[in-house]
Every structure is written in structure tokens, then in C-alpha cells.
């Protein structure tokens, strides 16, 4: 009787399908990933059990860094230009077109009006290095934050947009600065805030 021969299969598989899947996934992840905007300050937010996702449009974001510097950002480019226009009038600082363009493209900023020109003349990479921007003054003597927020609200209001005020503070930011930011907002009757935090699972209540 003839021996039953076990047919030998090649060990090498056809990888084409797997390769297709791999690159499909890769493409998917690249396309869905959102670029992280280049921020002027690195902020590590504390975690909370809050559930509400972050709104991304029509927001006024006030950032507080770990060392208590205040930064601000508005997502709408038109509003950014309007803000700068108003502020340059108020503080008598004239900006050139390239400077305006630099301001329009910067995600957030943190400089007093006196230094704003100099900061905007810098290279974007240089500008966003830690420690370059001194923060927006918000003390009672020279509360520039107040006017920045006021002009931003004015422009959002004129567009009929429902804006939100977000506070993104570092977990080690002193409460004093956060209190100051909230007080500045309350001076112009902004009483509702959204604090940006990381996500944490809610412990089951007993």
C-alpha cells in the first residue's frame, strides 16, 4: 500500500492582505488624529470625574500656567484680528500687517501690550518656547486681561455666536491667579465657566 504522503505546505504566508489592513488602519489613524495646536505654554490639567466633552468652536480659553502666568486664546481667526485691532487702539500700539498675521495665526498668547510687538516679531517656534512670553497682566492696576476678554466677547457677540469661557489651569497653578481670573470675568458679568480637566473614572457611590 502506498504511503499517504502529508502534503508539505510552504510556511510563508501571503502577507498582502495583512499589509493592506495595516496601512488601512494607519491611514485611518493619521486622518482621524487631530494635530495638537502649538500652545505658548505647557499646561498639565488636573483630572476630574466630569463627563462633558470639550467644545472646540467659539471658545475663549484662558490658560494659567504652573507658575501663575496668564495666557489667552480664541479659536476664531476673525475675532483674533478684531481683538488686536481694538487693543492696539486702546493701548496706542500700532501693528504692521505681518504682525497682525502672526497674531492671527498664533493659537494663544501671553504678553502685555507693551511687549506684544516684540513678541509678534519673533519666529513662531521661538515665540512658543517656555519662558519667552511673560503672561497677560491681570492685576487691578493694569488689567489687560479684562479688555482682551471684553473685546473677544464683543466680537463673538457681534457675530451672534454663543461663546463659552474655558479656564485651563495647570494643576499646580496657585489658586490666587485662578481667583483673579474668575474675578476679572465676574467684573464683566461672566459667571459661567468651564474648567478644562483630564478625565477620571467616577468612583461608584456607595
Amino acid at each position: 500500500m502506498a504511503k499517504v504522503k502529508v502534503k508539505r505546505h510552504g510556511v510563508s504566508m501571503d502577507m498582502t492582505a495583512m499589509c493592506d489592513v495595516a496601512f488601512l488602519l494607519l491611514t485611518f489613524f493619521i486622518l482621524t488624529a487631530k494635530m495638537r495646536p502649538q500652545e505658548a505654554v505647557q499646561v498639565t490639567t488636573p483630572n476630574s470625574v466630569a463627563q462633558e466633552p470639550l467644545a472646540a468652536i467659539d471658545v475663549i480659553t484662558v490658560l494659567v500656567s504652573a507658575d501663575g502666568k496668564i495666557f489667552m486664546g480664541v479659536d476664531n481667526h476673525q475675532v483674533r484680528l478684531g481683538m488686536l485691532e481694538q487693543m492696539s487702539k486702546r493701548y496706542n500700539v500700532a501693528f504692521t500687517d505681518p504682525e497682525k498675521e502672526a497674531f492671527r495665526l498664533s493659537e494663544n498668547f501671553g504678553a502685555p501690550m507693551a511687549n506684544m510687538k516684540q513678541i509678534l516679531d519673533m519666529d513662531p517656534a521661538e515665540r512658543n518656547k517656555p519662558g519667552v512670553q511673560p503672561g497677560i497682566p491681570s492685576d487691578s492696576v493694569r488689567n489687560e486681561l479684562f479688555y482682551w476678554v471684553a473685546t473677544a466677547r464683543q466680537y463673538f457677540g457681534s457675530q451672534g455666536a454663543k461663546y463659552k469661557v474655558l479656564i485651563k489651569a495647570d494643576q499646580n497653578a496657585p489658586y490666587k491667579v485662578v481667583k483673579q481670573v474668575i474675578a476679572t470675568m465676574q467684573e464683566q458679568d461672566v459667571n459661567n465657566f468651564n474648567l478644562i480637566t483630564g478625565q477620571e473614572t467616577k468612583p461608584t457611590s456607595m
Partner: protein, 182 residues
Amino acid sequence: MAEIAQGGGNDKGGKVRSKKVSTRVDMTPMVDLGFLLITFFLLTTTLQKPVTMFLGMPAKDKEKEKVETSPIKESEAITVLLAKKDGEDTVYWYQGTGKDVATTQVEKTSFAASGGLRDVLRRKKAEIGDKFFVVIKSKDEASYKSLVDVLDEMAISEIDKYGITDINLNDIKIIDKAEAGK
């Protein structure tokens, strides 16, 4: 699989046959590369999606009105104090108005999952019931994290009556007393 055809040098004088080279290419390294890139992108994208926590402050001019119309009873309110000592966030609580520093019973607590502020709040909420009110006061140097932690505790214990107010001199004295007692 993909092998480079070695040029056979055996001319037998017959027809020159072009050797059939397989069109199949070994895909394994390409798959490796694909998955490597996927892994890289997965790891570099931020895993944590930011969320927002709503914070509503009372309107400034209406605040006084409110206090007058609905004063909080001493027995129904507790005060949570936030401070910072030696670079560590500390949290204290007491019940009552805290007007009299000497008689106020102040306790140090923590944000621990058990035996901390959460237990205190839960106990007091059960004790006092619906009218339970929490006053949150923070010293200037306390970190923002502890404020968020307290607000978190409110959400966890489902306390919707709380307020953030400025700290006064008495409260600072109470914190000092609590720190000295340790």
C-alpha cells in the same frame, strides 16, 4: 518568494529562455513597518480626551440679596478649607460659622478614597439632609488641583449646594490652629 534570479551562465546553445520570475513580493517587512507606524501613532496621540467641568459663580450684585433671603443655618453648613504646607496640598473642614476660632472644631482631612473628605461629606449629608451646604474657601497659595478635587468630591457625593468664597482672616487663623495642633 522573492528571490533575485541568479543569471545562469549555462548556455547550451538552445533557445535563450527568459526565466520566469515570480511577481510575488515578500510582504512581511512592509507589514512590520505598517504596524510599527500604527503603534507609533497610537502611542503619540494623546490618550486622554479633555473634558470640561461646569462652574457657575453667583452674579456679583445678586449675591448679597441671596444671602439675605436665604441665610444658611450654622448647623447645616460645613466649610472646607484648602491650604498648602511645605509644598503639600492640605485640606481642613469644620462645621459652623468659624467666627470663634477657639471653639471651632477643625479637622484635617484628605482627598483619599476612604477616610477622607468623601466620607465626611457623605456622613454630613446623611446627617443634615437636603439643606446641607458646603462652603469652599481656599488660601491663595493652595494649588488649583485641590479646588478641582473638592469640586469633584461634590460631584461624587452629589452635593449641588456649594459655594466658593474668599477666605477671611478667621479661616486663616483656623488653618494655623489646625497646623499647630498637628
